[in-house]
């Protein structure tokens, strides 16, 4: 047997001393065939029978009372009502499962998990296992990728909740998206935070008004040789400090040009007096301003200085408006709600039941990524063990016959690995059918319901202040029914060989 090599084990000296064929598995399942050596004789008498029967007694008591009895009890309980379970309702609880939108959401999520996760994680494990065979630091790589498995799912959920946080100061993913987004859509120096109730018209104070195209425009016109004064309010002292603003200074008129100032229309010594430029008021620096002709086209552009002053030279004839451009107020990127309920399928206009069945909330994708991070290491190591136990001669032969690495992988390695791939797939399938901790801990409260699965529904139905015990039991039975195929597969594998 290759068990020792398969798992990188050195057999402990005790085992080696007596040359015990360690039955550690050739397949990750580790199933030794049932066929046993027939006991010699029948002997020993009743006493030795009871002797070894006693050994299984403690385990039998635990299993009987805590696993087998509850199995039956839950099955029975699912046929009775939600209150004290005194009246028989038949399949009523099961009908309720499929008639309740909130439960359908959970079932739909289970379906999404089952479709996406087992396949993806097995594929990822296969890729990693095959690639690590080709590098010299495979052990380090495998250790790093395998490590998250020993974390509690609760801790992993917290880790990923932070990774996907909406705030680019907290969430790494949003920070990365922001870095890219800022290149194409840079935020202004005076960002308006619409989610905090700010709007452009709140900024207008003297001689300006907000326009439909998110700019501020002077309400009066100005012509060549004139001076325009635009007063804004609601600018935070912190912003001014950051921009190194100086006290406002109105420039003197220049012939052939238009000059002016954009200033903070608030004076500590003249509280409540608007429209006058006082010497203790601040200029608003670094604003992009444009001079607009009466037809709305731009005649010239400029940027305000530290004291808020701007100059347009040689503007020509006509009446002009001064515009403070929208780029000054852009809020830039404010974060993608990865843990939100927004669906990636277009279901917004459908009925509530149809939404429950067909939506794929973004938070599901985020959680699946987190679970891949947790379980890819297991898939990789299991498949890697399978790879290592493959018949090298076959692979050598393929090479001798001139097969490329890719051909060998596709035509020889993967078909030979199929049993291991199936084991990993089925294991991950059972795993996501029961998925609970991640759902409970990763989505924020607002998206928890859209992220729920059977296991979470059971928890919320059976263990809240007003438990619906009959319904919860029916959900348990449904979950159990879903894992039965996997159970049968295990049994077949163990009996089969």
């Amino acid at each position: 047997m290759l068990s020792g090599r398969t798992f990188g084990l050195r057999r402990p000296s005790t085992a080696r001393a007596v040359a015990v064929p360690v039955p550690a598995p050739d397949t990750p399942l580790g199933a030794a065939p049932l066929a046993m050596a027939k006991q010699p004789g029948g002997g020993g008498g009743w006493r030795s029978h009871t002797g070894s029967l006693l050994f299984i007694l403690p385990a039998a008591i635990f299993l009987g009372a805590i696993v087998v009895y509850p199995l039956v009890a839950t099955l029975v309980r699912s046929l009775f009502d939600n209150n004290n379970g005194s009246s028989f309702v038949g399949l009523g609880n099961y009908k309720e499962i499929f008639a309740t939108d909130d439960i359908l959401i959970g079932l739909r999520n289970n379906v999404i998990w089952v479709i996406v996760f087992p396949f993806t994680v097995t594929f990822l494990g296969l890729v990693f296992a095959v690639l690590t065979e080709r590098i010299r630091w495979a052990t380090a790589f495998k250790t790093v990728v395998f490590m998250p498995i020993v974390f509690s799912l609760t801790a992993s959920a917290l880790i990923w909740r932070a990774v996907f946080d909406l705030d680019p100061h907290v969430g790494m993913v949003n920070a990365a998206v922001q870095t890219v987004s800022d290149v194409f859509n840079p935020p202004g120096l005076y960002p308006i935070d619409k989610s905090a109730g700010q709007s452009l018209s709140n900024l207008a104070s003297t001689n300006v008004a907000a326009t439909a195209s998110a700019t501020l425009q002077s309400t009066s016109t100005v012509s060549s040789g004139g001076v325009a004064k635009l007063g804004l309010v609601g600018i935070s002292p912190f912003t001014l400090q950051m921009l190194n603003a100086q006290k406002v200074q109105v420039p003197s008129a220049a012939s052939g040009g238009v000059v002016g100032v954009v200033w903070r229309d608030f004076s500590p010594t003249h509280v409540g007096v608007k429209g006058t430029v006082f010497p203790d008021e601040d200029g608003l620096p670094s604003l992009h301003v444009s001079l607009l002709r009466s037809d709305g086209s731009s005649a010239a552009t400029a940027t305000t200085g530290l004291n808020g002053a701007f100059h347009f030279d040689n503007v020509g004839q006509g009446q002009f408006h001064v515009q403070v451009d929208s780029s000054n107020f852009g809020s830039g990127f404010t974060g993608i709600s990865f843990l939100g309920t927004q669906s990636i399928t277009p279901t917004a206009s459908l009925s509530r039941t149809a939404q429950a069945l067909l939506s794929v909330p973004l938070v599901d994708i985020a959680m699946i990524i987190a679970m891949l991070w947790i379980w890819a290491g297991f898939a990789m190591v299991a498949i890697g063990a399978g790879l290592a136990s493959l018949n090298r001669e076959v692979l050598e032969a393929a090479h001798m016959d001139g097969a490329t690495e890719w051909q060998t992988l596709r035509r020889v390695t993967i078909p030979m690995l199929l049993p291991v791939l199936i084991v990993v797939f089925v294991t991950m399938l059972i795993n996501v059918l029961k998925i609970f901790d991640i759902i409970l801990n990763m989505p924020p409260g607002t998206s928890q319901q859209d992220a729920s699965t059977l296991a979470l529904l059971i928890y919320n139905t059976g263990f809240t202040a007003n438990p619906a015990t009959g319904l919860a039991s029916a959900l348990c039975v449904l979950l159990f029914i879903l894992v039965i195929p996997a159970m049968l597969l295990n049994l077949r594998r163990i009996r089969g060989t």
Binding site: F7, G8, R10, A15, V20, P21, A24, A32, L34, M36, A37, P40, S52, F55, I56, A59, F62, L63, A65, I66, V67, Y69, P70, A73, T74, R134, T139, A140, F141, K142, V144, V145, F146, P148, V150, F151, S152, T154, A155, I159, R161, V163, H169, M172, V381, A382, A385, E396, V423, D437, L440, P444, A455, S473, C476, V483, M487, N490, L491, I494
Partner: protein
């Protein structure tokens, strides 16, 4: 610490393997990036736990790369200085251990006994019983929560001690659900022990207990170690069972401690990250100390 467990095959000279491992710069870079991607989220948690509470929403944790001097162990000292206050971090750490250690010992010893009986016992129907055990491996714990809770209550009214809401109740439940896999793993291992070894003992008049204690148990140490490590980490990381069977008990394990904190995440991420790191450290130490045993248990448990 050994890193042998994860690498599936020892490096051999010549032939297939060395041809596979020829210089591949692109592959090495790609895998290095993947490894970094895998590490970064955990490092993030660690760094957040080492930053002042106020820094959390002001700037991303990655900004410490430019100012590493701002790291502090303040969060850890604050949480541990609360001492054994029920519901505190230290109290949770101890509760986790109080649940995990007895469960691990019980599962390992009861599984070994049962497996001995299944392999070397001479009663009929052992194969059938083993198949039942295999079938029970995939039973979801959810199936048992409600009935066991009422069973505990019944036990309480009969004897005066209701295990619901106590560590005992959690341990009993964990032991029962740990047994199918434990028996499966130990039975497969014992099945490879030659029966002649025991027959010799029987002829010499050794009883079953002596055979188990002196022959089978020592031989089964590698499998028992795998089982124990696997079980330890499994139970240490459990949330659901503790959440339900501890009820409102003030002494909660680390996972429940974290769960309680998560509900107000934004305001107390310093507690969550610090508690998270503490909860991770213990299984990590166990993992790195007994890596090969854990990996083997994990692979054998690929059906759980």
């Amino acid at each position: 610490m050994t890193t042998a467990a994860i690498s599936a095959v020892p490096v051999r000279t010549g032939g297939w393997r060395s041809r596979l491992r020829r210089r591949r710069p692109v592959l090495n870079v790609v895998l290095a990036l993947i490894a970094i991607f895998w590490l970064v989220p955990s490092i993030g948690l660690l760094v957040v736990s080492l930053r002042p509470e106020s820094a959390f929403t002001q700037s991303g944790w990655w900004t410490v790369l430019t100012a590493p001097s701002r790291l502090t162990i303040q969060n850890y000292t604050t949480l541990f200085s609360q001492g054994l206050r029920p519901g505190g971090l230290l109290d949770s750490l101890i509760t986790s251990a109080v649940i995990t250690v007895p469960t691990t010992i019980l599962v390992t010893s009861l599984s070994s006994l049962a497996a001995y009986s299944l392999v070397f016992g001479r009663w009929r129907g052992r194969d059938a019983v083993f198949l039942v055990v295999v079938a029970l491996m995939v039973v979801p714990v959810q199936m048992a929560l409600l009935p066991v809770a009422s069973l505990y209550k019944l036990f309480g009214s009969a004897t005066g001690f209701n295990p619901f809401g106590t560590v005992v109740g959690v341990v009993i439940f964990h032991v029962a659900f740990g047994l199918p896999f434990g028996i499966f793993l130990m039975r497969n291992f014992y099945n490879g022990i030659p029966r002649d070894l025991l027959e010799a003992g029987r002829i010499d008049g050794a009883g079953e207990w002596k055979l188990f204690r002196r022959v089978v148990l020592p031989l089964g140490v590698p499998a028992a170690a795998s089982l124990a490590i696997f079980q330890f980490i499994w139970v240490w990381n459990d949330l659901l069972v503790a959440l339900i069977f501890l009820g409102g008990n003030a002494h909660a394990p680390l996972t429940v401690f974290l769960f309680d904190q998560v509900r107000e995440l934004a305001s107390n991420y310093w507690i969550v990250s610090t508690g998270g790191i503490i909860s991770i450290i213990v299984p990590l130490i166990v993992f790195f100390s007994f890596q090969r045993y854990f990996v083997r248990g994990m692979l054998a448990g690929a059906v759980k």
